[in-house]
Symmetry: C2
């Protein structure tokens, strides 16, 4: 039931069988069908969520009704709204399944408990946070430095597996381009 998470943890750091039991104790599985929402703008996000199967998008809708995707999360990635999680404020993002998806939810309090009882887990998650931050800095750099074409090629490099799973207009939204511009960038060469 939580096998994918266990395998993930074992691959990332040393964890004992007892510790695995502690983790399992606080996990809850949630199944989402394609197009179902994991989080809706306005709700408070109180979990850490591990995608064990499938794919979700995190996005916002502006006043003009335009969607802006700030993240895709597929198997073996974490998702959620950090702002809402940290400050207990209403989420500004929506999270929606792009495929049938399985998510393992760990409530905030339990998650903090894991940090205390499993130091290796805490260390790893902090390192992961660092890496995630570095990735987001790279994305900022791409955003302010690259042309439409360069942004797309950068996306191919950094998210090679997503290109065939995500509709093109969503990649455009993720990159801050119109779908038409992305289409033209792709066909031309």
């Amino acid at each position: 039931m939580f096998d994918n998470l266990i395998l993930y943890l074992q691959s990332k750091f040393t964890i004992t069988d007892e510790e695995i039991e502690i983790v399992k104790q606080v996990c809850r599985l949630k199944k989402l069908r394609k197009r179902q929402y994991l989080l809706q703008e306005g709700d408070v996000w109180r979990y850490n969520a591990f995608i064990s199967k499938g794919l979700v998008r995190t996005f916002r809708v502006d006043e003009k009704g335009q969607e802006h995707i700030i993240q895709f999360s597929s198997e073996n990635w974490w998702t959620g709204d950090r702002q809402s999680y940290i400050t207990d404020s209403p989420a500004r993002y929506n999270i929606e399944a792009l495929e049938d998806t399985e998510v393992i939810l760990i409530p905030k309090g339990d998650f903090e408990g894991l940090y205390r009882s499993i130091p290796n887990f805490s260390d790893f998650m902090h390192l992961l946070m660092e890496r995630t931050f570095i990735a987001s800095q790279n994305r900022i750099h791409a955003g302010i430095s690259y042309s439409a074409e360069e942004k797309y090629h950068d996306f191919l490099k950094t998210h090679p597996t997503l290109v065939n799973r995500v509709p093109q207009h969503m990649i455009a939204s993720f990159l801050g381009l119109s779908p038409e511009t992305l289409s033209r960038v792709r066909t031309k060469k």
Copy 2:
């Protein structure tokens, strides 16, 4: 000598006098004159750096010689190249003082020592990392969603103190706009 850092730490979490001594032990003060570099692309960054006075910019230069500023850091903020720090790889960023600046450097090994000996410090820095990540997500959102004008107004909101300290063309670089466009955005209205 390290007063500003001490005051900062005391304002952020509970820290004992003994712990402050431990911190002082590993601090090194570095003074930079305006236009001096704290880090040059290609060097490995091995510190955590606290700005106790002044202002620096973190930027990259592309093949066309164009500079792209990904961060400003002023008093009571940390700076450095996380990628280089975490992976011991050559830095891809330059860090340059925009004013006469004082930086407190703590070498990587010592910094990890502080994490072990001062749990409150570790907890706080992890929380700070979370907040920094949230800020960078907000910036990504602005980058893919906003027009030039909206980007500038967002900058005014998120960095109100910098507008009068940083040359306008550097704000443009930070926002991914040409200096001329930013100038026009500002005068119009």
